[in-house]
């Protein structure tokens, strides 16, 4: 019997403890309809690669949605974005993910 049923990212994130910060620590420099995410980014590596599924593309709204509460603070998104459109700083002291094993 296999018990690793925690196969989806959502289920994996559900195992984590977070202390939700008072404000977002991730921002898109340009978040509107004119953003490169909408018009110029073909692969949207933030959406496909982010290990915590923070980024999602909203086809109808033509924008990238940022679920910053899920962030596990790896920092990859800043480097992944081909248009340098992601501003990812650290949450304020003590907030954000808190690993129990690490």
């Amino acid at each position: 019997m296999t018990e690793h049923a925690k196969e989806t990212v959502e289920a994996k994130l559900g195992l984590l403890e977070y202390r939700k910060g008072p404000e977002p620590h991730i921002h898109l420099k340009d978040a509107g309809a004119s953003a490169p995410c909408v018009s110029r980014c073909e692969k949207r590596p933030c959406v496909s690669v982010c290990p915590a599924k923070v980024y999602e593309y909203d086809e109808a709204g033509a924008k990238v949605l940022v679920a910053w509460e899920n962030c596990i603070e790896c920092g990859a998104c800043r480097m992944l974005c081909p248009f340098d459109n992601i501003l990812c700083d650290w949450p304020a002291g003590g907030f954000g993910v808190r690993y129990r094993y690490g």
Binding site: M1, T2, E3, H4, K6, E7, V9, K12, L13, L15, L16, R19, K43, P45, S48, V49, C50, P51, A52, K53, I72, E73, C74, G75, A76, R78, M79, L80, D84, D89, W90, P91, A92, G93, G94, G96, V97, R98, Y99, R100, Y101, G102
Partner: protein, 430 residues
């Protein structure tokens, strides 16, 4: 007068080693950690080599409170090709003699214990403090500013704030890292009773094994998988170049799921329950991505300074050595009353005089050379599996035909080409 002699940013292996050393030598030291507790933001495989910690906390393994998991007696390397695999294993209880060679760890537990050692030595630890920027007087670093707006001043700041080192960036020491310069690692801690671990990995009670997986498990990306035995859990992870994940669009958590299903992994983790999922960047740019290590009033150590030797699975040991040596340079600077770049640069000399910089110098081109052969991690594990299959197959053909077939496989690639492609690996061999 500044508030402190030294401010250390980040309570990981580099920062805690630095703070401990500084405090012991009588410097007024503060250790700032953005996590709610030391380790809260830290992720590692984790294997810790004993020697470099022993240099700082002698005979740490005799401290019953030190949260070590298992001393490593067996290290396996497994090359995968499709569902096949061929492996190499070295097992020796000599790893346990004297200073034990390596332990597996749960980083959060270890980091909390280690930070307590620094506190016991006299360092002031403040967790839950995010440093937002450096305070400067001209070009000289004179302190830090926290996310709460507090300003702390010191004669020297030690940036031990990890791979992302926003401080090194804000100090203008280096630009943002590129996706080619980092690996993205994802890991799960899987709960499994200790007796079952010992049965599955053929271990004596309490002893540990590590496995690294190369080849098809990385799905054409530069990187590897790993499986380490903890006391009553396993650490299973993958780490590949971020630029490769960018290219493939593969999500690391899904990559990890695929690794779980490989026959060389599946039965070892069967029935184990996932306790935690984590992800972290690994600074693998090596020497060429290394920022300047000393400036007026500033030193950089550990992941923040790209001190990782992926060819030998080393990192936290480098961080500990660098933290200790940075602290020693700061102690000397204090004695001279001079915290200029020139004085603090004795840190770089110390790094050059030990194993750290020479090792990074040796392996600086290794990843580049492997990446330059796009099918390296596909072809060679495949070749190894093919040769092993021929060697172990009894099919009624004379052995001479097996040998001819094997030589045919080698000739197809070309001996010269293979020699050229494999030559850089000598630096990862010994």
């Amino acid at each position: 007068m500044p508030d402190f002699d030294a401010i250390v940013v980040g309570a990981g292996p580099a920062g805690t080693s630095a703070a401990l050393t500084l405090a012991r030598r009588g410097l007024k030291t503060v250790l700032l950690e953005r996590g709610e507790y030391p380790g809260a933001k830290n992720v590692q495989g984790a294997v810790l080599y004993g020697r470099m910690l022993h240099d700082i906390v002698p005979e740490f393994w005799k401290d019953p409170d030190c949260p070590l998991e298992r001393p490593v007696v067996e290290q396996r390397t497994v090359l995968t090709h499709g569902e096949d695999s061929v492996g190499f294993s070295y097992k020796s209880r000599r790893f346990l003699e004297g200073v034990p060679n390596a332990y597996t760890l749960i980083r959060v537990r270890f980091d909390r214990w280690y930070a307590k050692q620094a506190e016991a030595a006299g360092a002031e630890l403040y967790a839950g403090v995010t440093v937002r920027e450096l305070l400067k007087d001209g070009t000289r670093v004179v302190g830090v500013k926290t996310s709460e707006g507090d300003e702390l001043t010191a004669s020297v700041v030690l940036a031990c704030d990890g791979v992302n080192s926003l401080l090194a960036q804000k100090a203008g020491l280096r630009p943002e890292l590129k996706p080619e310069e980092v690996a993205l690692g994802a890991k799960e801690v899987l709960e499994l009773p200790s007796e079952r671990i010992e049965e599955r990995f053929a271990l004596e009670k309490g002893e540990g094994a590590t496995i690294e997986y190369f080849g098809s498990v990385t799905q054409g990306m530069l990187g590897y998988g790993f499986l380490y035995t903890n006391k009553d859990s396993l650490s299973l992870g993958v780490g590949c170049r971020l630029s490769d994940y960018q290219r493939t669009g593969l999500r690391p958590s899904e990559h990890l799921e695929a690794l779980k299903k490989h026959p060389a992994v599946r039965r070892l983790i069967e029935g184990a329950k996932t306790l935690e999922y984590s992800a972290h960047l690994i600074p693998e740019g090596g020497l060429r991505s290394m920022p300047p290590l000393a400036r007026d009033g500033l030193l950089v150590a550990g992941d923040a300074a790209q001190m990782i030797n992926p060819a030998f699975r080393e990192g936290s040991n480098l961080a500990m050595t660098a933290g200790r040596l940075a602290a020693e340079a700061a102690v000397e600077a204090k004695a001279q009353g001079d915290f200029s770049e020139k004085t603090l640069s004795s840190y770089v000399e110390k790094l050059r005089g030990c194993y750290l910089l020479p090792d990074l110098e040796e392996t600086k081109d290794l990843e580049e050379r492997i990446a330059a052969v796009p099918d390296f991690l596909e072809f060679y594990p495949g070749l190894a599996c093919a040769l092993a299959r021929l060697r172990f197959t009894v099919d009624g053909r004379p052995k001479k035909e097996h040998l001819r077939e094997a030589l045919g496989l080698l000739r197809k690639r070309g001996f010269l080409r293979m020699a050229r492609e494999l030559w850089p690996l000598r630096k990862a061999a010994l």
